[in-house]
């Protein structure tokens, strides 16, 4: 247990997360703030006093007046003493190279009257740019401890820990602006109503009570009444307060900051921007980088993925050999281990994608992508800020939809959330690769282009085109609730912080395994049970039939395939087979049989279950062969024939119809859940599920009917 709680508060791009990682090391965990889905990063730090501090990283914000969902958390946590993230000490992290703007947030937070201290980060950069800060004078004027550090260079961390340990439990900061003057009567009434004595807290309550969940409906109504009776004008007062604070800060910073050449800060950035955001060159470079990311996801992860696959195959084989044979062993190996392998295999791709995305974000390039793409994206009802979630959608829609929180505008955000799951995610990749390898020859055209690679790229292009078209449709259907903001900071270019990159890779991979893992293992087990068991009468009848054949038949061919035929007939009559048969009429026009039907059902919760299901179905069918590598799976599927016509089931028409189905269908419970949590209503996930399913069915139907001769 921690002795005290410390919250990190600061503007975006101030190196807050780097400092957080430095203070806590790997000793951190990610949870949720109660009731909302914003990531809550907490970790522990040993102080020189021997006490342990729990460090909480709050979302970056320019002011206590929130403009996005993430920013709302800051005041919610600072305002609510019952919130389990409510800190004893606030550490305000400021960028030394831009002190005035950073101190706006400081002065707001200081007026809440909590014990706090100020950290001036990026001291090394400020020095390089010729900015010098008189730390002692600043500390004296603000009335709090001021510590100058460089998180990137790991300088000043020991002093910071000492300062945290020394922070008194009574707030020492000097008052800044007379907050009471903004709305004297309303503030007085609020203070009496809710029993607080801090003027600024009362003013913030007037501004933000709608977002505070700890008030009862009756209290909310009373606050509303106070607002109305005093004709409290939120927007006007926020403006007045901001101006007053800057005025105060000019006085505070007089003689404290000497700037002998902040212009130098931009020389390098300007040169890089001239190339990277060039009207033509910049766009070409962007597409080149996108292509590089794609390529890296596939090529860099192929070796570890093969190793993981091989490892799990060996594990299963070993298990079947050494573990006592029986139902439990089968469940463990063919249900749990198979399901686990299906999840872990995605780790290399997710790690590579998030490493690259975090490098692009860390260097400042992602902000430029947003800048360049905004106008194009706006034509389709999206915003430049939608680019990041949509690129992230190539890996996984779940974190991408969470990252759409940065989009302040409601309509832009909803459209981004609605179309992101259409972008082909890494879970579709194994479906595509398996099906493409079945029907597209591994040949080269024009000497260099691999046909299979082209088919795969085609699937990705189709998914992006679909996302853009659907966004356009939503643009005309949805009514805008508020206006769209785009104002954002373009940070100077910097080298990526490699430690942060590693942290991101680790965090995202872990989140994926834990979140997706639960669903997939459950499905694997259910599927195994459903395909192993069936109505006992039918199973008894099958056993009786084959036992009879075994005892009486002399036909050697029939005897040789006896066990396989028995397993096939059992699968057909198992619960999974029965369900597959029930939906067969509906999927027949798409070119699927009941076995593919089973795969569709199991993929309903997680599409990555497709390959596993095919493996389970075909390995149940061929139970004689104990090894089930992908190559064998591919051969088995390719050899599958329609029992009535004797024609192969997996033709080009079926494969493409299936790929289109998987490209458009929402088969992902985690996405449905995250959309519900992010939009706080069932309306959006239901609309999404319906439109994607209809689109998938229609596209698959058209593809099959067109290609099938």
């Amino acid at each position: 247990m921690a002795d005290l709680k410390v919250a990190l508060v600061g503007n975006p791009n101030t190196g807050k997360s780097t400092l957080f990682n430095l203070l806590t090391g790997l000793n951190q965990k990610i949870g949720n703030f109660p009731g909302i889905t914003v990531d809550k990063k907490t970790g522990y730090c040993k102080l020189p006093s021997g006490k342990t501090a729990e460090i909480i990283d709050l979302p970056g914000t320019y002011s206590l007046y929130p403009k996005s969902k993430d920013e709302r958390i800051v005041f919610q946590v600072l305002a609510d003493e019952r919130n389990n993230a409510h800190p004893d000490i606030i550490v305000l992290v400021a960028d030394s190279t831009n002190l005035r703007r950073n101190l706006l947030l400081f002065s707001q937070v200081a007026d809440l009257g909590k014990p706090m201290l100020l950290v001036l980060n990026m001291a090394d950069m400020a020095k390089k740019e010729g900015i010098s800060i008189d730390v002692d004078k600043l500390a004296e004027r603000l009335g709090v401890q001021v510590v100058s550090i460089s998180a990137r260079k790991e300088e000043g961390i020991a002093q910071l820990k000492k300062a945290i340990a020394q922070t008194t439990t009574v707030a020492t900061q000097n008052s800044s602006v007379e907050t009471k003057d903004f709305a004297p009567k309303a503030i007085e009434e609020i203070k009496r109503k809710i029993g607080v004595d801090n003027d600024y807290y009362a003013l913030q309550i007037l501004h933000q009570h709608e977002h505070l969940t700890f008030f009862t409906a009756k209290e909310q109504e009373e606050i509303e009444t106070i607002e109305v009776s005093n004709s409290f004008d939120t927007v006007k007062l926020q403006g007045e307060e901001t101006v007053a604070r800057y005025k105060h800060l000019s006085k505070v910073l007089n003689d404290v900051v000497t700037d002998t050449g902040a212009e130098r800060k931009f020389i390098l950035t300007d040169k890089i921007d001239a190339v990277l955001t060039h009207k033509i060159g910049g766009v070409i470079i962007f597409f080149f980088i996108l292509f590089f990311i794609f390529n890296a996801i596939f090529s860099w992860s192929s070796v570890p993925m093969d190793m993981i696959e091989g490892g799990f195959a060996t594990l299963t084989e070993w298990g079947h050999e050494y573990l006592p044979a029986g139902v439990l062993t089968d469940l463990l190996l063919d249900g749990v281990v198979a399901g686990l392998g299906g999840i872990i295999i995605f780790i290399p791709q997710i790690a590579v994608l998030f490493a690259l995305i975090s490098i692009l974000e860390d260097t400042g390039y992602m902000a430029r992508v947003t800048f360049m793409m905004d106008k194009v994206m706006r034509k389709f009802g999206l915003s430049g800020k939608s680019v990041v979630p949509m690129i992230g959608g190539i890996a996984c829609a779940v974190p991408s939809i969470m990252s759409a929180r940065n989009i302040e505008n409601w309509k832009d955000r909803i459209i981004t959330i609605m179309v992101t799951p259409l972008i082909s995610c890494s879970a579709r990749l194994p479906v595509y690769t398996l099906l493409i390898s079945l029907v597209v020859p591994n040949e080269k055209v024009l000497g260099i282009l691999n046909l299979q690679g082209l088919a795969l790229m085609g699937m990705y292009l189709i998914s992006i085109a679909a996302a853009i078209l659907v966004a356009l449709v939503f643009k005309f259907i949805l009514k805008a609730k508020e206006r769209s903001y785009f104002i954002m900071e373009l940070p100077v270019y910097r080298m990526p912080r490699w430690k942060n990159v590693l942290f991101t890779m680790y965090e995202k991979s872990k989140a994926f395994v834990v979140e997706a893992g639960k669903v997939i293992i459950a499905i694997s087990i259910i599927l195994w049970v459903m395909s192993t068991y069936g109505p006992s009468q039918r199973f008894e009848a099958i056993d009786a039939k084959y036992n009879n054949i075994e005892a009486t038949s002399t036909d050697s061919v029939q005897l040789a395939s006896l066990e396989r035929d028995r397993a096939a007939e059992k699968l057909e009559n198992s619960y999974a087979g029965i369900v597959g048969k029930v939906i067969e009429p509906a999927i027949k026009p798409l070119g699927y049989d009941w076995k593919i039907g089973i795969a569709l059902i199991t993929s309903f919760a997680a599409r990555e279950a497709f390959v596993g299901t095919m493996a389970t179905i075909y390995s149940v069918e061929g139970a004689e062969d104990s090894e089930a590598g992908e190559l064998r799976l591919r051969d088995k599927i390719a050899a599958a024939k329609d029992p009535k016509t004797g024609l192969p089931i997996f033709t080009i028409a079926t494969a493409f119809s299936l790929m289109l189905f998987y490209a458009f269908a929402m088969q992902c419970m985690s996405t449905v859940a995250i959309v519900y949590r992010e939009t706080k209503s069932w309306k959006w996930p239901v609309i999404q599920l319906v439109y994607m399913t209809v689109m998938a069915y229609v596209a698959a139907l058209i593809a099959y009917q067109l290609i099938n001769p």
Partner: protein
């Protein structure tokens, strides 16, 4: 004059804002009356624009730059 009417390379001083809600956001990010702004560059399709103000770079849409009155 409005900020949106300047072309890259031109400088001006912020005088006031024509939109109260946007002005809070702009001021929080450092665009205060009295500050000098410089248009740095336009995005490939002419919008948004990147500006330099109060020691850092901001980008905003032309429609947003239109609420900033300059001289």
């Amino acid at each position: 004059m409005k900020l949106s009417q300047l072309s890259p390379g031109q400088k001006a001083t912020i005088v006031s804002f024509t939109d109260a809600e946007m002005s809070v956001k702009l001021m929080e990010m450092g665009c205060l009356p009295g500050e000098v702004v410089e248009i740095e560059r336009c995005a490939p399709l002419g919008c948004p624009i990147a500006i330099r103000v109060a020691g850092y770079q901001l980008c905003l849409r032309k429609s947003e730059a239109a609420v900033i009155v300059i001289q």
